[in-house]
Every structure is written in structure tokens, then in C-alpha cells.
Symmetry: C2
Subunit: 358 residues, 2 copies
């Protein structure tokens, strides 16, 4: 493969500051280095965290910001030392594009917990801690081979994109806490993360219950693979399931009273949170103590586990439920997401970038 010696010209959409809607933005990416893969982006999922970051709701935003960390594309070109990919391969990039690679966490393939800080795919910096990263709302990306994932060719590429964040964020805790057959598992919230949690918990053989504030989501939950639904506004429904769950995956990022859910756990049960409400939650410790229950957090997943998840989804035919949009609809999509009006993930078709260079 010839190695590109010049920087890569890229078209995309960016927020120029936290108040601006996303708009067309031209920029450059680094020339393809020995270990780099140049990817022609086909699809990019729209994560709720894209909105928080584009609007700088978490602070510290790096602008101009090109969001997007659920990237699927085809390899255009590879550096001279790249061994695992060749032009034409279907590949993915998730939330991480690099990490220190030497700390304990990186050594265990848990780059998301890199003690030096991983390089986020956008709104972050390369490992030089200086060069900003730009995400997948764009037509091309250059990523070091070790952070590129292989995508099973049997899956629909647009519907694979959300697996790179929503998929791994739910897969990783379900695997780490060994969810499977003979267990009763609750997925709290049925959005982008929750709908993947339901599909995966069901695929792992668990008795899967959706816990949602919306009674109207029952049919959708059952169709996704849930065995049952609990409407969390109904105290008697919660009470009927008290002390019966082995594991809860909480995807809610609105404020909530955790005791409602903790009381659903058996002795030694665990609730893992993957959503972050804006403010601390009020945690009553007594229900934890009374049954030796656990609350834990989990962040996306490492590169080896992300590949394992993609292979698992390939083998089982699992993808996200998506609505494909042209990038020109991104600001409207954000408004619909805030209203909860998406089943369950928007995915941008990057062909809609008119000046796309292929």
C-alpha cells in the first residue's frame, strides 16, 4: 500500500461553539502514518452524549467540535506497518482512538480506564495532549490500527454503527458481571442504550425485564426481546418484583431515586449505572446494607471487548434499530432526541455530504 504523505482533506459538520447549530466544516486530518488506517466513513450513529458535548453541557468542550463516535466505514488506505486491515475492509471506530498503552488498565485491554486518559474520538486530544480529535460527522478519519475494529460483513453497516458506543456500553457490564441463563435482569430505560441492553441480555439467555416510566413502550420492549415490562411509576408493580433481580443495568440519565431500583435487587445483586444525571442522586444506604447490594458504574468498553461484542453480534445477527438521516438533518435530529422521538438511534448517512471525495 502506498503511504499518503500529505494531510487528508476532510468534509464534515461541526459546532463552532457551544451555542451554534452544527454546520458544514472543512478541516484536515494527519497524513497516514505507518500504523494508521484511513477510513472512508459510511455511517455514524448519533449518541446522546454528542448533544451534551456539542452544547458544552459537561464543560471543557474543544471547539470547533466535530462529534460522532459510532463510526462504520471502509478502509481506503493503510500505513506500511498495518497488518490487520487492507483497503476495502469494513471497519469501525468507537469512542476511543488511542490511549497510553502502558498502564495497568491498557495492559488488560481496558483502554477506557487508561490511567493517563484515553484519546476520545472527538472533543479530546491525541496522546500528545495537544492535537484535537475530530469525530465521525465527517467523510474520512485516520486512526491507528490498534483502535480500529473489524465489522462482520453479514450485518447492515448503518445498523452496526450504534454498536460502537451503545452496544459496547451495555455489552461490557453485562459480560463483566456475568449476566446469563438462570438470571433475572432488568434494563432501566428504553432509549439508545436500553434497547441494546435488552437485545444483548436476551441473547445472553437472561430473563429480561424492561423497567420504564412509559407504559406505551410495552409492545416495543417485547419485540426487542424483553420477557416482561415494569412501569416504574406504578409502586405496586415495583413492589411485586421486590428482591427478585440478580442484576440491573440503569441507562437513565434523568434524575431518579435509586432506592426504587435498589429494592428490586436480591441479596448480593448489583445495579450498574451507565447514564449520568446532571446532579448527584440521593442514595439511601440502608437498602444497600440490608441485602449486601451493590451499585457500580461502567464506561463503554475496551478494544478487545469491543471486537468480541462485534463478533458476537455478527454471530447472533444483532444490530441496533436505527433511523437513517442525511447529515443536513442533524440539528433537527438533536431536537427529536431531546423529546425522546427516535426508535432508537439516528444514524447519519455520510454520502449526504455533497462534496464527499470518493
Amino acid at each position: 500500500m502506498p503511504q499518503t504523505e500529505t494531510r487528508i482533506k476532510v468534509q464534515g459538520f461541526a459546532a463552532m461553539d457551544s451555542k451554534a447549530p452544527l454546520a458544514p466544516f472543512s478541516f484536515e486530518r494527519r497524513a497516514v502514518q505507518e500504523k494508521d488506517v484511513l477510513i472512508d466513513i459510511l455511517y455514524c450513529g448519533v449518541c446522546h452524549s454528542d448533544i451534551h458535548q456539542a452544547r458544552d453541557e459537561w464543560g471543557g468542550g474543544v471547539f470547533p467540535m466535530v462529534p460522532g463516535h459510532e463510526i462504520v466505514g471502509r478502509v481506503l488506505e493503510t500505513g506500511s506497518q498495518v497488518t490487520r486491515y487492507k483497503a476495502g475492509d469494513l471497519v469501525g471506530v468507537g469512542c476511543l482512538v488511542d490511549s497510553c498503552r502502558v498502564c495497568d488498565s491498557c495492559g488488560k485491554g481496558l483502554e477506557q480506564y487508561c490511567q493517563q486518559g484515553f484519546s476520545a474520538t472527538y472533543n479530546g486530544f491525541e496522546q500528545d495532549k495537544t492535537t484535537p480529535t475530530y469525530g465521525g460527522y465527517s467523510d474520512k478519519i485516520v486512526v491507528t490500527e490498534d483502535f480500529v475494529l473489524k465489522i462482520p460483513e453479514n450485518l447492515e453497516p448503518a445498523a452496526v454503527a450504534p454498536l460502537l458506543c451503545a452496544g459496547i456500553t451495555t455489552y461490557s457490564p453485562l459480560r463483566h458481571w456475568k449476566v446469563g441463563k438462570g438470571q433475572k435482569v432488568g434494563i432501566i430505560g428504553l432509549g439508545g442504550l436500553g434497547h441494546m441492553g435488552v437485545k444483548l441480555a436476551h441473547a445472553f439467555g437472561a430473563y429480561t425485564v424492561v423497567i420504564t416510566s412509559s407504559p406505551g413502550k410495552k409492545d416495543a420492549a417485547l419485540r426487542l426481546g424483553a420477557d416482561e415490562i415494569i412501569v416504574s411509576r406504578n409502586a405496586e408493580e415495583l413492589e411485586a418484583h421486590a428482591e427478585s433481580f440478580d442484576f440491573l443495568l440503569n441507562t437513565v440519565s434523568a434524575a431518579y431515586d435509586p432506592t426504587l431500583y435498589v429494592n428490586l435487587l436480591k441479596q448480593d445483586g448489583t445495579m450498574v449505572v451507565v447514564g449520568v444525571p446532571d446532579a448527584p442522586i440521593g442514595l439511601d444506604l440502608f437498602p444497600l446494607i440490608a441485602r449486601r447490594r451493590n451499585i457500580a458504574g461502567s464506561l463503554i468498553g475496551g478494544i478487545p471487548e469491543t471486537q468480541e461484542m462485534l463478533d458476537f453480534c455478527g454471530a447472533k445477527g444483532i444490530t441496533a434499530d436505527v433511523e437513517i438521516i442525511p447529515i443536513q438533518k442533524i440539528n433537527e435530529a438533536y431536537e427529536r432526541m431531546i423529546r425522546g422521538d427516535v426508535r432508537y438511534r439516528f444514524v447519519i448517512d455520510l454520502k449526504s455530504l455533497s462534496v464527499k471525495g470518493d
Copy 2:
């Protein structure tokens, strides 16, 4: 052994209601049944929960209330079916005097998590859910053999008493979460529970750090077996230990910001809480997610593990640091405990009950 056919007359101290100081109280216990052990109480530790319950600060108090669940005594008499104890044996009774014995938790020897509710040693009911229980601020107690513990004869009986609650409450989580050599463990708070946590974590071979708001406790902490002390009011001391702890045992029951402590944990580290503040604590979920950290609760310990703890303490020569008082000083002792003026546990010498019937 002859079986007592009449009810047992007992002298003790009770709170007649939530406002009353503790005062002399005569009552009866059940006649010794086939599986029962009649114990002549020598010493009873004074737990902080005794104050909360005697003053009905947790609600639902059963009055008159005879507190006390850190009981050490000698067997006076045994029922005809008792096989493990005989008159003269040194024995203990902790926080539990019975449980359903058939649920999953009881089947695993985790009677403290009995799904039907265990019988608390006082301020509770026997398994008939009707007969009130009376605790160890008294000269005799009748307990079914299966909830009586054997006390190592080599230990000082008065200093053993607090092991029955403060000891097992700290031993159980340290064992369950497999604390030991090569680990850095923090004990948060240096009171009755905390001082036992330090002794036990040190005995398990962990590098043991006391985390306290009181700089004046340094010498005491080191003497108890701590390797180091962190003063939690000093942000820079906390910062210097960020992400370095495998495990934290939090014994604090005053209000606190859990993030101060959570940030001390390594990836996959766990903070176990055994104290219950009066109100929910404000928990920021992001520090849990960022390093897959855990918060869990733990309640005392089951009967088999309590015996294991006593045997371990016997083998290692571990007891509590106590101040022995006559029962007539109990109200004064409560006031001193509220001020934190005890190193580290009051223990009542029941010989001080003038009309003791032996």
C-alpha cells in the same frame, strides 16, 4: 442436664419509652426449651445502635426495650437436645437470636439477610413475630443453641464482647471482598467499628490506612495497626492517595460526600458502607463510571462467619479496646459516646446488677 420448666426471672436495665433514661427493669424470659441455652451474662458491649434504638431514632421501637447485642457469658443450663454446649462454657450472642432457617440466605449461613426477617437480639420479635426480644443489658438470656457462639477461652471476655457486633460487622465485608496481602485498604472513621476494621485489615495482611477527620487520632491509629493515616479534611492528602485503594470500609454514620472517598479507589475498587447516615447521601455517578468503581453495603454477618471470626481472633489474640463500666453508668456512657469520648467501646460488667441471681 435438667431442663428448666419455669420461666427465667431476669434483672436488667430498660428504656420504658423513647424519652426515658435506662433504668432497672425486672422481667422474665422463656423457660429453657430442648434446644435452648441459658446464659449467665458476664459482659455486654454498648453499640451506637443501642442509643438510636433506645431513643427510637429509627422508628418502630418495641418498649420496654432492654438493649444489648454484644453478649459474653457462661452457660448455666442447657436443654435436653443441646449438643454443642454444656454448663460452664464461655459463649457469646450477637445481633441475631433466630431466623427462618429455610430461605436461601439462611441456607447459606447468611441469617442476617434472612428473607423472612431475622429475630434481632433486642427491639425485635421471636420468629412467632409476636414475642418481643430483650437484649444483653441483663443478667441472663435464653437463646436457641444454633445462635450461640463459642468464645475462645484465651481472650479477655470483656474485650471479646464488642466482637459480636463491631467485630463481625467489619470482618464480614473484609472477608467477602477478599481483602488481604498486597492490597491497600482504607478504614474510614475510627470509632467502635473502625478500630476493629483496622485491627482486622492489618491481621489479614493488607496495607491499612485510617481515613479520619481527626488529625489527633494518628498515634492511636498506628498503635491499632494502621500503616498510615489520611486526614480527610485535607484535600491535598486525599489527592495524594487518589486512585490508589483496592478497598474502603466506610464506618461513618454522619453525613458525608461519598465522592471524596470514591476518588480514592482504583479501577474496580469497592467502598463498602456499614454506617447509615440519617439522610440519603448525594452520590455523583461519574466517578463510579469513570473507573468501574463499586459501592456496596454489608450488614453484620451470619452465624458461621461470626464463629469463624471469633476463632480467627482467638488464634491471633485480637480483641476490642474497651472501657468497662457498671450498668448504673449506662446513661452517662451514652452521652460520652455521642461526644465521641470512648476508646473505643464501652462494655457493661453485669456483676454490677446488685440483685444478680447467681
